[in-house]
Symmetry: D2
Subunit: 135 residues, 4 copies
Amino acid sequence: MHHSKSASSRLPVTIYYEDTDAGGVVYHSNYLKFFERARTEMLREQGICQRDLLEQSIGFVVRSMEIDFLKGARLDEHLEVLTRLIEKKKASLVFCQELVNPDHEVLCRAIVKVACIDTQKMKPQGIPDAVFSEK
Amino acid sequence: MHHSKSASSRLPVTIYYEDTDAGGVVYHSNYLKFFERARTEMLREQGICQRDLLEQSIGFVVRSMEIDFLKGARLDEHLEVLTRLIEKKKASLVFCQELVNPDHEVLCRAIVKVACIDTQKMKPQGIPDAVFSEK
Amino acid sequence: MHHSKSASSRLPVTIYYEDTDAGGVVYHSNYLKFFERARTEMLREQGICQRDLLEQSIGFVVRSMEIDFLKGARLDEHLEVLTRLIEKKKASLVFCQELVNPDHEVLCRAIVKVACIDTQKMKPQGIPDAVFSEK
Amino acid sequence: MHHSKSASSRLPVTIYYEDTDAGGVVYHSNYLKFFERARTEMLREQGICQRDLLEQSIGFVVRSMEIDFLKGARLDEHLEVLTRLIEKKKASLVFCQELVNPDHEVLCRAIVKVACIDTQKMKPQGIPDAVFSEK
């Protein structure tokens, strides 16, 4: 009774001009984009395509985040997003996500609660069975 | 037989951190956002709400742009987008748009061709009568 | 011994296409941009220009956020960001920020901790006296 | 007397929620980000790091673009940016860039003129020798 190994993942991220701001580091809201890409790829590894879900009116939406911005990421850095599923309920998932550099420093860390909704009614609905199913 | 005065408009734009990049000026693709906001407000002045259109499967999409990036806009600048309709056809509109500073310098200029489409079929469709109608 | 009335502010925000995603509502990280615009304007009301600060190597950076995404904002909505300073320390500020619609529904709420740093050394530094000074 | 093989390149791009808008396809200005990533990687393949250049006050800025938006890219699509250097002058480069899908359809095409500038003086300067040098 354990989560499959797909309950954690790594995604490489390169910092481009589009991600930075005049302060010289990544604009704070852009870290959320990196985390969302990582969750998307984690679903994809399980054979889940969000576009297909959307066509069935099933969407995952971020309900809440606690996020610490620890150290600014800079242009041209090659980083990695580490994602772990830490809780799975009937209609929600909680992830812990970290953006780390090659020296294993954590630049940004977030606890992200995601809900599964019916995108027509904008109401909670059960997570499809295929998503983070236990073995 | 002339266009109504709504064929030109002005929209103020303030430059925030989100708009800039590590080069210290506005990231080039963000000028396109300012221009799109201005076209949206120009439609709104005519009583056109794009969300209502979208619910009828009518959308305006940018088909092509010629854009000159003349001078970088900086954090905290208060600028203005000047927009003029320069051509109206059955299913397309052409705008000339400029981002100008208080000294009347043009920082960015674009010729933008916009098409009206059926968003279900992704095919051209006639522009609704209410849009840029002549008096 | 109280904060000046500038310790709270309101900023109108209109939702444009650039803010939305394929789910039909505002992409979650974009709410952070609206909040940052509001904090910037709150500083501006006190005569503080972030670009001037940046030239003196003084920057405000977001250290942490707790954010609840309560209801998705839609294209063409006219909303308002309400911002209150809830704590001021030597080198940090804490704000409570809400995005509300005309029916007074809160769409998004965040507690935002901002630190003042020396942007050369990337180290904390005291907040300039002019910022949120008490009467 | 010909350009090295590095005068053309391919970069894979995946479409995430962050890239799309309420119309269901990629927001038009975001194609410019994909093209900029591809130019950055093309420089990187030649051993050029833009952050190092920036520290020497050398920057590449987009001067002008002609861009055709031919077909909207959708969530979860796996695309490729094809980039070719089509002109090299003392202080400027011209690229032709295309975003293509696995069926070889061109979704977006741009001619992009990039200038090399001194980022302190914001004036043109010669392109460093290492960039797109001929064999």
